[in-house]
Amino acid sequence: MVMGQKVLMKGNEAIAEAAVRAGCRFYAGYPITPQNEIPEYMSWRQYEAGGQFVQAESELAAINMVYGAGGAGTRAMTSSSSPGISLKQEGMSYLAGAEVPAVIVNMVRCGPGLGGIQPAQSDYFQATRGGGHGDYHMLVLAGESVQEMVDLTCLAFDKADEYRNPVLLLGDAILGQIMEPVTLPDPVDTAGLPDKPWATTGTGGLRRRNVINSLDLRPESLERHNLKLKAKYDRMASSEQRHAGYRIDDATLVLVAYGSTARICRRAVDLARREGIAAGLLRPISLWPFPAEAFEAAVPRAGAFLAVEMSLGQMVEDVRLAVQFRRPVYFYGRTGGVVPTPAEVLVQIRETAGACGASTAPAASGAARGGGLVK
């Protein structure tokens, strides 16, 4: 591949290649659809890059291999899809507690249980609310295109090291499987990455031992550690909010959607504009921290917000928290692997616009198929 050249790549493979270029030299994973192209790609590409690939015996083993490699100072990654990510939650809690950088990719599929292999966004709570046990947070990044997932993969490795914290990349079955043109980043020189003086590289007889650990049986001491982590999460919350807007500057109805759903909503916004409805889209890119500041700018202009998700209503809770009852917040969602169409979203836009300003008609009762319109 010529550097800087545009290439056509499948989302999963592009993420894997971006990870290698970002300096990832250890990958462990376990097969699960719809992310199999990531381990398949890594199985040869890591060795080509001088790294290591392990097909683990389970997602539990994979995340703990990443804990070992990340703790030893190597940029390390694992990936999976929803059921496998559930198994990784204990490990993610340990990574956060022991402050081990790592990148985890979740190509979300529909649940609960074994669910299906079609796209969904129903792991939002798990991703943004901790998922594993204990007080902790991860940076959660969600792109809407293969290019953006590539860019966020590189960002994820940098932020994981910067904060010594796991970073979760949230995609879905669409973003994993779609092929799009991408420009890949130039490879980083791993030797030039910042030192990790805390890593378990062996003391060399030159320093005191380094310990990667999350255990502390002394309450005051563990509280101090947790408060130190909290200060880090506060820094992340103020510095790492990311979002994008589409036709939002004069929008009175603001759609809120992330990932693949945001692309569908953009089309719906265009259709609504043609009908004279001043719709726009606010697209969170960081799901944790949620881009609440962007809502401060949007609230004064907006008559209402409409959250659209491939779930029964998860991100909408963060929208409500950001809007703080200053405007009505509506929700439309499809679930089970059903992907909403622009025409369906347009129906919701019309009803919401009618309910909140463009007309004085009362809110339509949740008429839509599937999720329905719920205030």
């Binding site: 250890f26 539990l60 083993a61 703790g71 030893a72 204990e90 378990t200 590289t201 003391t203 030159l206």
Partner: protein
């Protein structure tokens, strides 16, 4: 004057949290002596597991990672693959290794990961207060087998060394015991052998150490050592279950590491 006894340099000063009569301290000392003798403390990375060895990172002068329950072989895999020059060892109890971590130990062994596992088999869950382990002997009382382990309700104990020795991956597996000075000398030799094989890149090595848990066995320290010789060894025979120098298929093809 000739000094005849000293704390190994690889062993941290200070007391451990182990109960009176627990034999884990002996094993720690023997590991530390081997690190000294082979001059590898500066290259060593230990992995502490969940169980009574959870605080092992406080007891050795080398780098350490604490692992989730059962996952130490996976953590060790991640360390060794990315730090091939490190000497990586785990310390695991029998609940950790033979119950919740069964998948991880079998697959690390099958892959022939070039790591060393120190498997402390005290036939019980020590840290959580004496529940039945996969290794608990038939008839042995525990807090979850109060009338003695009964096979109709709780199955039969697992012989880990024998089971892992059926795999082609491991380079070296030996079961030893710490109940007598003569046996302890064999523990020392087994620890050296395992670490030397790792240094030679031979692949997966495991030393199972039959250990005493007087507290949860409800015995005095002396009685507990006697029990190892009287009951435990007869179900878990001592000996070398695999050694790659004895024409085993393992060895030459152990996974390498990251190039850096």
């Amino acid at each position: 004057m000739k000094q005849v006894f000293a704390r190994p340099r690889a062993l941290s000063p200070g007391a451990t949290h182990y109960c009176p009569g627990c034999t884990y301290g002996i094993v720690h000392r023997l590991i530390a002596e081997a690190l000294d003798d082979l001059a590898i403390t500066g290259r060593a990375v230990g992995v502490a597991s969940v169980g009574c060895t959870v605080l092992a990172y406080d007891y050795f002068e080398c780098d350490f990672q604490q692992a989730a329950h059962g996952r130490a072989p996976a953590v060790a895999t991640g360390i060794k693959r990315t730090r091939p020059d490190a000497v990586v060892f785990t310390l695991q109890g029998d609940g950790d290794l033979a119950a919740i971590g069964t998948a991880e130990i079998i697959h690390a062994a099958a892959r022939g990961e070039n790591i060393t596992v120190f498997f402390l088999n005290n036939t019980i869950y020590g840290m959580t207060g004496g529940q039945m382990a996969p290794t608990t002997l038939l008839g042995q009382r525990s807090t979850t087998s109060q009338a003695g382990r009964e096979p109709g309700r709780a199955g039969r104990p697992i012989r880990v060394s024998e089971m892992l020795a059926t795999l082609d991956g491991p380079a070296y597996i030996e079961r030893v015991a710490v109940d007598t000075p003569a046996h302890a000398a064999k523990v020392r030799r087994a620890i050296h052998r395992a670490l030397e094989l790792q240094l030679a890149g031979a692949g997966f090595t495991l030393v199972e150490v039959l250990s005493a848990c007087p507290t949860n066995w409800g015995l005095t320290p002396g009685e507990a050592l006697d029990r190892i010789g009287r009951e435990v060894i007869s179900y878990y025979p001592l000996g070398v279950y695999r050694d790659s120098s004895a024409a085993s298929p393992a060895g030459a093809d152990a996974p390498g590491g990251i190039s850096q």
